[in-house]
């Protein structure tokens, strides 16, 4: 009989890209010539009005071969207005589907835009930043080809104390796209170039800059331990923890995500996060009105609880147990699931004393209540946790006390009810538990077989996935 216990997955929820209405492109004369007549000098720029709002047929524009012309205009250093309009138009085309972005790239826009990053006209270099951001955001392929074309140095050079905030926001967003996407991750040396500037941007107090910069860090920490290492070594952790407590959700969310990613790393990396003060902020996040924050805070907690005993001890001393109990009791159901993992990890890795403290904190009642959850995985984890509790109780010679406690809290009933659960593994696990520990307290049970559980706790970066049933 095989059990295929799914390891915890750290997949982020994918955000569906929101498509904007494509802007209108008037198909007027695209000639950059202008008459020398003073009258026309004063009339609005006769270059195509490429940016109004009505819906244009974007694909027809592409088919009409306009893109190469626009790319050519990017090179007209003598006509900055034309450059700017062309840059804007190409930005908007590149903001569309992957096909549309591809058309822009294949039109040769990338080297032109990279060159324009150094334009003496700030609005043109900014528009280029934006366009390149759209291209990088298409996926790892274009992201890496931008990096290979050396986009990073001129981009970073634009960040200066005198750079206007709007411009900085654009740069930060584009940088975040350069850090984004996996399969593959961005090259490590590129990250090494970007990180110092990113760290700088994180010192800013503009919420939009902070948000995008935190997202960038969250992307960078969403990978192997050596990627986490590079980020942790910058010393950014205290600032990240601080930003976890920011009033703006748009900043809190990615900061928490980044920290959550970091504590899926090594014990040392987790300790650095703890040293930076993450535990002090978790309680308020565990009861945050926003369910996603609760969930991710609980996930973070669960990964810390999968650490060595000293770290578990820190959870206790920093007063996280009451918060954990609260989440189990009243939290959003997604957060509850994570909290269950936290308890499971705690009972697996903690010392007997620590487990006692856990039980004394009142964890059992809400935990047992969750046995009525619809999610089989959760049930299994709870059952495993109870098993761990009994292990500890045995060492103290207090198994009977535990039995009574479980029964008083209505847990026995729930476990018994699980014998008729649809899921086979649940049924067998419940059975096993009852036979092993409650045989004296209850009626007869069929013969138990071996322990059906494997280790289900542990720390890694993955989210709880769907439970795969083993075939009985």
């Amino acid at each position: 009989m095989e059990v295929n216990v799914e390891l915890r997955k750290a997949k982020k929820d994918e955000q569906i890209l929101k498509r904007r209405n494509i802007s209108c492109f008037s198909m007027e004369d695209l000639s950059p010539e202008k008459e020398k007549n003073p009258v026309s000098m004063l009339q609005p720029n006769s270059a195509a009005r490429l940016t109004s709002r009505r819906n244009p047929p974007l694909n027809e524009i592409i088919e009409a071969g306009i893109i190469p012309k626009l790319v050519e205009f990017l090179g007209h250093n003598d006509n900055p207005n034309l450059q700017f309009e062309a840059a804007w138009a190409l930005t908007n085309i590149a903001s569309g589907t992957s096909d549309q972005t591809r058309a822009v790239v294949e039109g040769g826009a990338v080297p032109a835009f990279i060159a324009l990053l150094s334009s003496p006209h700030m609005h043109i270099s900014e528009q280029s930043v934006w366009a390149l951001g759209n291209i990088a955001g298409d996926g790892p392929l274009y992201r890496d080809s931008l990096i290979n074309l050396n986009v990073i140095p001129p981009l970073l050079a634009l960040v200066a104390p005198t750079t206007p905030i709007g411009f900085l926001r654009n740069i930060t967003w584009t940088l975040s796209n350069l850090c984004r996407n996996k399969n593959p991750h961005p090259p490590l040396d590129a990250i090494g170039q970007i990180l110092p500037v990113l760290i700088c941007l994180l010192q800013h107090n503009d919420k939009d800059i902070l948000s995008d910069a935190c997202w960038a860090v969250s992307y960078l920490t969403d990978g192997s331990n050596d990627r986490i290492h590079v980020v942790v070594e910058t010393g950014i952790l205290p600032r990240l923890v601080q930003l976890m407590g920011a009033p703006e959700l748009s900043v809190q969310t990615p900061a928490l995500r980044a920290i959550g990613n970091i504590v899926t790393g090594t014990d040392e990396q987790t300790q650095r996060a703890i040293d930076a003060g993450v535990l002090a902020l978790l309680p308020q996040l565990l009861r945050h009105p926003k369910p996603t924050i609760q969930k991710e805070a609980a996930w973070t907690l669960s990964n810390i609880a999968a650490g060595p005993c000293p770290q578990i001890q820190q959870l206790i001393t920093c007063g996280l147990l009451p918060s954990l109990v609260e989440v189990l009791d009243k939290g959003d159901f997604k957060a509850q699931k994570e909290a269950v993992w936290a308890v499971a990890n705690f009972t697996t890795g903690g010392t007997v004393q620590q487990v006692v403290v856990l039980v004394q904190s009142g964890i059992l009642k809400p935990l047992l209540n969750l046995l009525s959850s619809k999610d089989s995985k959760t049930i299994l984890v709870i059952l495993d946790t109870i098993s761990n509790l009994f292990l500890a109780a045995e060492k103290l010679g207090e198994t009977e006390k535990l039995c009574v406690l479980v029964e008083e809290l209505g847990g026995l009933e729930k476990i018994e009810a699980l014998q008729t659960h649809d899921n086979n593994i649940v049924y067998r696990a419940a059975l096993g538990l009852l036979e092993k520990h409650f045989a004296d307290c209850s009626g007869h049970f069929p013969d138990t077989t071996q322990d059906l559980f494997g280790q289900v706790s542990g720390r890694n970066r993955i989210w709880q996935g769907d439970f795969k049933c083993g075939i009985h």
């Binding site: 955000q15 890209l17 929101k18 498509r19 904007r20 209405n21 494509i22 802007s23 020398k36 003073p38 009258v39 000098m41 004063l42 009339q43 940016t51 709002r53 250093n77 006509n79 900055p80 207005n81 930005t91 908007n92 590149a94 903001s95 569309g96 972005t101 003496p120 006209h121 700030m122 609005h123 900014e126 528009q127 951001g133 759209n134 955001g137 298409d138 104390p161 005198t162 750079t163 206007p164 709007g166 411009f167 926001r169 654009n170 967003w173 975040s176 796209n177 984004r180 948000s211 995008d212 997202w215 703006e248 959700l249 748009s250 809190q252 969310t253 990615p254 926003k290 996603t292 924050i293």
Partner: protein
């Protein structure tokens, strides 16, 4: 950081030690001429080679640039260039640098945000009201397409489209009204002062430049008074009492003095009577185009205790006893007739023997020389003569200018009187309109922009005094006059309404542009002031109709 209270004062000083030559492009207004004089003096000091090209409009500016762009690397624009995208129009090579000292506002945003090729000489405290870079070159993202859930905690979009409206709105707002900043002559003087090369002559030119702005009604009263204060400090510094005694007898030295003098145009070089009749302020307040007005004038003179015979004499021939407390006397009497601002803060210059001129005298004289129609001379010749007249050594030219100015002021007053008496000023709804027909006396004089503008301003002020229609008093005025009979063109100017707290901002530039576009009228927007255009006589009525509907 390019935020709202952005200001720049870039100094030429670091660049004045040119190893190359400089091309000076100077517009045709007195402030520009004064600024030019100061710069020329500075160049002379430092042995900088330069070439001077007077330009009266965009066509000349462009032509001059094209003709010289291969031989010059440095160009200085005086009272032209700030309000357009200079780089787009001129397309200079990368190593060419353009210095712009121009009172025209608003400054084109491209000129501001391009750092390398366009250097603006702007006074530090001038409120440029520049839209913040952030507002102008970026905009808020509209999240209306988002289905709304968790828009705050969501990941940033992988791609973003740039929206347009906000940007263009802001730009439109910014560019809608034209106005004028600090006098270029004053800016140049500042430059000289910073370089410790300022001389009393330069100070006088700065004063004349500022006064030109006042005469042309280009700046608010408050700005004028503030700038007078600034200049007064320099005047005190340069013209200490003790230096006086040594120098007062020398024919070469000059002295500037602060004056709180009558604003009667040219009165010390004319007769008091003529001046009273031909100064807009008195003429309009007393309504001298009417019979009652004439009576009031007599009463005023009587009240001042000035016999008519005396008053009609040349001023310097008037009895000394009458001249003694003239200013106070006139002021007192004028007050009784509703003229509370007959005196104005200004400056005078004294040099040689008995040569004394008020700043406004010089302004009127210079304008007349510059727009002289008497001899059939080229605009450039007139420009040069006007420029020369600003040097003390060319007193004869100044005197010639004064005579011409008297004719001009008389012509203006007569035209104003005639327009009002024959009801030539009509209301088109959103604005007043007045057209000077061919054949009107002195109409040739008013084919020139400054003269036409002066006429328009005086006409509007007088009209406002004459009309009983409250609504009409608040309207702006468009004035047109024949420009070139053979080509059948007219010159048209638009001026803002006459109100006490007027900010002197003029929206006609944009309005003319739009009306021209929408009617396909054949217009030439050649003047540096966008509110002055040429148009084909035939297109006049459809153009006006378009304007009327545009502004309604």
């Amino acid at each position: 950081v390019f935020t709202s209270s952005f200001s720049r004062c870039l100094m030429l000083s670091s660049v004045v030690v040119f190893l190359q030559r400089v091309l000076l492009l100077v517009a045709s207004d007195v402030d520009a001429l004064c600024a030019c004089k100061i710069l020329q003096a500075l160049f002379q000091c430092d042995h900088v080679q330069y070439t001077l090209v007077p330009v009266s409009g965009w066509q000349e500016l462009e032509t001059a640039f094209l003709e010289h762009k291969d031989q010059f690397k440095y160009f200085v624009f005086i009272n032209c260039g700030a309000n357009v995208d200079l780089l787009e129009i001129l397309q200079p090579e990368e190593d060419i640098i353009l210095f712009v000292c121009d009172t025209h506002r608003p400054i084109n945003v491209v000129n501001i945000y391009n750092e390398t090729q366009v250097k603006l000489l702007v006074k530090q405290d001038d409120d440029l009201e520049i839209p913040a870079y952030d507002d102008l070159f970026r905009d808020e993202e509209e999240d209306e397409e988002d289905s709304g859930n968790e828009s705050e905690g969501t990941e940033p979009s992988e791609k973003r489209r740039r929206l347009e409206e906000v940007w263009r709105e802001i730009l439109f707002e910014y560019e809608q009204y034209e106005y004028h900043g600090t006098s270029s002559a004053m800016v140049m003087f500042d430059l000289a002062w910073i370089m410790s090369k300022d001389l009393n002559d330069m100070l006088w030119w700065a004063i004349v430049g500022l006064t030109d702005q006042w005469v042309q009604d280009r700046i608010t009263q408050m700005k004028y008074v503030t700038d007078i204060g600034t200049l007064q400090r320099h005047v005190s510094r340069h013209n200490h009492r003790n230096e006086d005694d040594e120098n007062s007898l020398s024919i070469d030295c000059m002295r500037i003095a602060f004056e709180y003098d009558l604003r009667l145009a040219l009165y010390q070089h004319w007769s008091l009577y003529e001046s009273l009749c031909n100064t807009c302020y008195t003429s309009a307040s007393l309504k001298l185009w009417s019979v009652q007005g004439q009576k009031r004038l007599q009463e005023l003179l009587a009240d001042m205790g000035l016999p008519l015979k005396q008053v009609k004499q040349k001023f310097h021939s008037m009895d000394i006893s009458l001249k003694e407390n003239l200013q106070e006397m006139i002021e007192e009497s004028a007050n009784k007739f509703g003229m509370k601002d007959l005196r104005v803060q200004t400056f005078s210059i004294h040099f040689g023997f008995k040569n004394k001129f008020l700043a406004s005298d010089v302004v009127y004289a210079t304008v007349s020389l510059m727009e002289n129609i008497e001899k059939d001379e080229s605009e450039t010749d007139n420009f040069i003569r006007a420029l020369d007249s600003l040097s003390r050594s060319n007193l004869d030219k100044l005197r010639q200018g004064l005579e011409l100015a008297k004719k001009q002021l008389r012509a203006i007053q007569q035209t104003v009187a005639s327009c009002i008496c024959t009801n030539l000023v009509i209301s088109q709804g959103p604005f007043l309109y007045c057209y000077l027909m061919e054949g009107t006396p002195d109409v040739k004089l008013f084919s020139k922009p400054v003269s036409l503008c002066l006429l328009s301003k005086y006409l509007l002020k007088s009209f406002v005094c004459s009309t009983k229609n409250k609504r009409c008093k608040l309207l702006p005025l468009i004035m047109a006059a024949p420009m070139n009979v053979e080509q059948a063109t007219v010159i048209m100017v638009g001026i803002p309404p006459e109100t006490e707290s007027s900010d002197k901002k003029n929206f006609f530039g944009r309005a003319f542009e739009k009306a021209a576009e929408s009617t396909n009228s054949r217009t030439l927007h050649n003047h540096f002031d966008m509110s002055i255009i040429e148009l084909k006589m035939e297109d006049r009525s459809k153009f006006l109709d378009a304007l009327t509907s545009l502004l309604s």
